[in-house]
């Protein structure tokens, strides 16, 4: 508090000086008045007042010191001097500034990406109880869908398990088709994460009854805003993924870093089981694509 007033006083030095001056002068004048009233002559009165006061200049300086921060004022003067020197050699100044800018800028970019992707905790309830299960076979981090189903069926240590896989499809809506990215996710994905829909609803495990039974997609907030212009009436309409119709169920809330990708479709909804994409992968008994991904528990 006093630091703030000291700082502000540094910026109004002349105003402060005037004020202190006026205060000290008032004191001397009052003493002169009293002296005159006591019968002294004007010169005597003045002399006596000034004598009793002591060294006015010194007192003014000391009062000034109390009201400002001489340390900061000194630093301020040094900075001012540094600026003047830099102005005299602009080439050096420019080089130094550029070097610093590149160094600092590079660091900021790297660290902010790191922060967004890795350091910032997930914006989900129970974020500290979420784990990813990865396989480290031959440097391959994918899992197979039948394995996921087995793990899930025999799971005794985790509350729930969900699976998801990155996919890309041409999404056509409102007359235009664009290649878009999304996640194929198991039906319980949103329930397991504990996220609530911002609009509409999410799909649930109960919506799945076998292949092609759940042609639903959920939009991420960013995708909803950019592609559908935040139109609340898209809920319930149909969008085509690679020419297969899907109903838009709802919109996920922002800014959840795991729901960044654009749309979500339950694995049972994906009709690609016999498409050319799955040729390298084994297919599960109910014909759903099994190429896998991580799953999050």
């Amino acid at each position: 508090m006093s630091l703030i007033s000291r700082l502000t006083n540094l910026f109004r030095r002349s105003g402060l000086d005037h004020e202190i001056d006026a205060e000290l002068k008032a004191h001397i004048e009052l003493r002169i008045e009293d002296n005159l009233a006591a019968g002294m002559s004007p010169e005597e009165a003045h002399r006596d007042a000034v004598l009793r006061f002591g060294n006015a200049t010194v007192m003014r300086e000391r009062a000034n010191t109390e009201d400002t921060s001489p340390l900061l004022a000194g630093i301020g003067r040094d900075v001012h001097y540094a600026f003047r020197q830099l102005r005299r050699s602009p080439g050096f100044a420019l080089t130094a500034i550029l070097t610093l800018a590149l160094g600092i800028g590079g660091n900021v970019v790297v660290l902010s990406v790191l922060n967004a992707l890795i350091l910032r905790p997930l914006d989900l309830p129970h974020a500290n109880r979420m784990y990813t299960i990865e396989q480290k076979n031959h440097g391959d981090v994918s899992q197979s869908y039948p394995d996921y189903l087995d793990y899930r069926a025999r799971n005794m240590s985790l509350a729930d398990m969900a699976a998801y896989r990155l996919m890309a499809a041409g999404l056509s809506a409102e007359g235009s088709a664009k290649m878009s990215r999304g996640y194929e996710a198991s039906g319980n994905y949103f329930d397991m994460l504990g996220v609530q829909p911002a609009l509409g609803r999410f799909f649930h495990a109960s919506d799945e009854h076998g292949p092609n039974s759940a042609p639903y997609i959920v939009l991420s907030d960013a995708f909803w805003r950019s592609r559908f212009h935040a139109d609340p009436h898209v809920i319930g309409t149909t969008a085509d993924l690679d020419k297969h119709p899907f109903t838009i169920l709802g919109v996920a809330p922002p800014p959840d870093s795991t729901v960044q990708k654009h749309f979500y479709g339950p694995t049972s909804g994906c009709p690609w089981s016999t498409s050319s994409r799955s040729k390298a992968m084994s297919s599960s008994p109910n014909g759903v694509i099994t190429a896998s991904g991580f799953w999050v528990c």
């Binding site: 000291r6 006026a22 205060e23 008032a26 004191h27 007192m59 000391r62 010191t65 109390e66």
Partner: protein, 108 residues
């Protein structure tokens, strides 16, 4: 006595004056100190002002400009709540100091 102690004593005197006499300007405080101490304490008048400014920065007193009876503009000072607390503490400290010095002086 060390400068700090002297400074502390001056603070105590000023705080007590303001506590007893309400709002005062620097000159008034000087007059009161002279009268109340029976002229024993003659403080160099100007040295009051650095002390007053320091105490104001510390939050013990508050200032505002006002007119005296003779119509002159002067800066008046008033005690704050924090100042009142500080006065109690300073008074206690001073009592202790005086007792201590007396005890040493009287020691046979």
């Amino acid at each position: 006595m060390a400068k700090k102690d002297l400074q502390g004593t001056l603070d105590l005197l000023v705080l007590k004056t303001l506590a007893q006499r309400g709002e005062m300007h620097g000159y008034g405080i000087v007059l009161h100190l002279q009268k109340a101490s029976d002229e024993l304490l003659a403080v160099e008048e100007g040295s009051l002002y650095p002390a007053l400014h320091r105490m104001e920065q510390g939050g013990w007193i508050k200032s505002n400009w006002a007119l005296t009876e003779s119509g002159r503009k002067a800066k008046y000072y008033k005690l704050t709540a924090a100042g009142r607390k500080e006065l109690e503490a300073a008074e206690k400290n001073f009592d202790q100091l005086v007792k201590g010095v007396r005890a040493v002086m009287r020691y046979a």
